[in-house]
């Protein structure tokens, strides 16, 4: 019997980019919950425990780091190795903060969706596509 699909929370406010990752992740067999802003991501992660989180930084309502910090304060943050920051931010402070939390920091434009799926598979111990 096939293993139950792993769930990914995708926090991404750009609908075109969200659809791109959603398509690729769904094809790769993941169940994807898309959150279009930081508040939605916070509410989702407070109630559900997905297998993996893809977190954008510059989002309306709450920035990605604000979501993570709020969840950490409540002891509800996903483990650092079950999460990646996906951003196009060139601000060195953002990269530093990600490094402090211990979470991978990926410049969206530098990786194709397939590469990101492979990165997630590797982190979840799943075979690459």
């Amino acid at each position: 019997m096939a293993q139950a699909a792993k769930t990914i929370v995708l926090a991404e406010d750009d609908a075109v980019i969200a659809r791109m990752y959603l398509t690729k992740l769904t094809r790769a067999g993941f169940r994807v919950i898309v959150c279009a802003d930081g508040k939605q991501a916070y509410d989702e992660l407070k109630t559900s425990q997905p297998d993996f989180v893809m977190m954008d930084l510059n989002m309306p309502e709450l920035r990605g780091f604000e979501v993570i910090k709020a969840l950490m304060d409540e002891g509800m943050a996903p483990p650092a190795d079950r999460m990646i920051i996906l951003t196009n931010s060139a601000n060195p402070a953002d990269r530093k903060l990600a490094s402090q939390i211990g979470v991978d920091y990926i410049i969206k434009a530098e990786m194709t969706p397939r590469q990101i799926v492979n990165r997630i598979n590797a982190k979840l111990g799943l075979p690459s596509h």
């Binding site: 434009a109 530098e110 990786m111």
Partner: protein
């Protein structure tokens, strides 16, 4: 009869006593002068913060201790072409007259155009001018009758107008007033006026210099603050611009890659070829943005290595994957020989190191017309070594020395790719060396090149780099 006991010596003794008395008086006067001059020096040395308070204190000292109970100091204002009163002190004629004098005179600047004015004459001729009328001294700024009345109330008879100069510059004038007539003045008093003029001139010079240097320092501080603001705005703009450029590129590059991967159905050979070119173009733009960001940070002295725990094998594999199609489209064999056994995680700057690896592989593909590009990553004692070997055009001998300098491009590379920036290798060297590594480079023109680096496996050794 003690007096008659020394009748012959009496007049001599009297003369000696008078001599001693006179000498004592002279010494007392000298002492008074020196005390006053020292007081003036001390006022300046105490680094008064503004010209007005320093000048006022000097005028007070003069009016109180020189025997000239009326002292005013004028400072040249070249922009307005006037001698501007900066201090008026009276210690004669009672409080009321003093108050009126200070108020009236402080409001009366003397224009250089009035060449008959004794103050203007003193300044032009650089000599002490004497006047017995205050209205003459301040003409035509104040009315004659009121000024005559004021002089009477102040019981002043003579005014000495001294030019104030230092190091060859005329800085202003000082007016000293006394109740005595000009011919009643002792030698000592005349001499004192000259010495005071010199001393106050130097004092004014120092005060003005101090004020000017303070003003200049203030302007520099303001300019520095503006530059910092500007620098910050520039940084923010570059960050914002690169973010704004990368976001649409994410969609362009991402969707192109998905079309190529068949996510929207099968594509024919020609479609694949066109999409590959479009994808390579988008990839090149992503790379250019990173190069420009890094170069602008370098120019601002803000290029720093941000080490994080990284799997370098993943990075090389991901960059080879990205460029695989480009190699395929050119009919080149691109292969990656991964390390065995697996490498441990390394503490390196992932973003900048990725950019170096991308640049090496992208260059190898670009400058190789046929043959292969082989990427090898392996452990070599305490280092990790990456080599990108190609069978491309190579680098001419005479261009090899300059290859890693900013904006330099080898002539044969310029022919093949006229639009290169000449930044990739320059940045690569900096990124690798700043992490304690070394660049690997060897090439034979027409046969091929090897570009690569070694990086310490366990982080940068202390003091091993710039």
């Amino acid at each position: 009869m003690a007096q008659s006991a020394l009748p012959e010596d009496s007049s001599g003794l009297h003369q000696t006593a008078e001599e001693v008395y006179r000498k004592n008086l002279q010494l007392a006067e000298k002492n008074k002068t020196l005390t006053l001059l020292r007081k003036i020096d001390e006022i300046v040395l105490s680094a008064a913060t503004d010209v007005d308070s320093a000048v006022t204190r000097v005028a007070q000292a003069v009016a109180e201790d020189s025997g000239f109970p009326f002292a005013t100091i004028y400072v040249t204002n070249e922009r307005k072409g006037v001698l501007q009163p900066r201090a008026v002190i009276t210690r004669i004629g009672g409080e009321h007259a003093g108050g009126v004098a200070e108020r009236e005179l402080m409001g009366a600047s003397i224009s250089f155009r009035h060449s008959t004015n004794p103050m203007v004459r003193a300044v032009h001729k650089l000599m002490i001018v004497t006047s017995q009328h205050l209205f003459e001294v301040v003409q035509p700024a104040l009315p004659i009758e009121e000024t005559e009345q004021l002089q009477k109330e102040l019981s002043l008879s003579t005014f000495f107008i001294c030019p104030l100069q230092s190091r060859g510059d005329v800085l202003g004038a000082m007016v000293l007033g006394t109740a005595e007539k000009p011919d009643e003045l002792s030698f000592y008093e005349k001499n004192l006026i000259e010495r005071l003029a010199v001393s106050v001139g130097v004092a004014l010079d120092n005060t003005l210099l101090y004020a000017r240097s303070e003003e200049a320092a203030k302007r520099l501080r303001t300019a520095n603050r503006h530059l910092k603001d500007l620098d910050k705005a520039k940084d923010e703009f570059i960050s914002m611009a690169s973010h704004q450029l990368r976001t649409p590129l994410t969609s362009i590059k991402g969707y192109l890659s998905m079309l190529l991967e068949g996510d929207a159905g099968k594509i024919n050979k020609e479609q694949r070829e066109f999409l590959t070119y479009a994808f390579a173009g988008s990839q090149r733009m992503v790379s250019l943005i990173s190069d420009l960001l890094n170069v602008s940070r370098m120019a601002a002295g803000k290029f720093v290595i941000e080490a994080e725990s990284t799997d370098i094998t993943d990075i090389v594999q991901e960059e080879v994957d990205q460029l695989q199609r480009h190699a395929d489209a050119k009919g080149l064999q691109l292969q990656f020989v991964p390390p065995k056994p697996k490498l441990p995680l390394m503490s390196i700057d992932e973003g900048k190191t990725r950019q170096v690896i991308m640049n090496f592989i992208d260059n190898a593909i670009y400058y190789t017309k046929q043959g292969s590009v082989t990427v090898t990553l392996k452990r070599k004692s305490r280092n990790v070594e990456l080599r990108v070997e190609d069978t491309g055009i190579g680098v001419p001998d005479d261009a090899q020395k300059q290859l890693f300098t900013k904006f330099f491009r080898a002539p044969n590379a310029q022919v093949l790719r006229p639009d290169g920036t000449g930044l990739g290798l320059f940045l690569a060297q900096r990124v690798i060396e700043d992490q304690g590594g070394t660049i690997i480079f060897k090439s034979t023109e027409g046969k091929g090149s090897t570009f690569g680096f070694t990086l310490p496996l366990h982080g940068r050794r202390h003091g091993s780099s710039r």
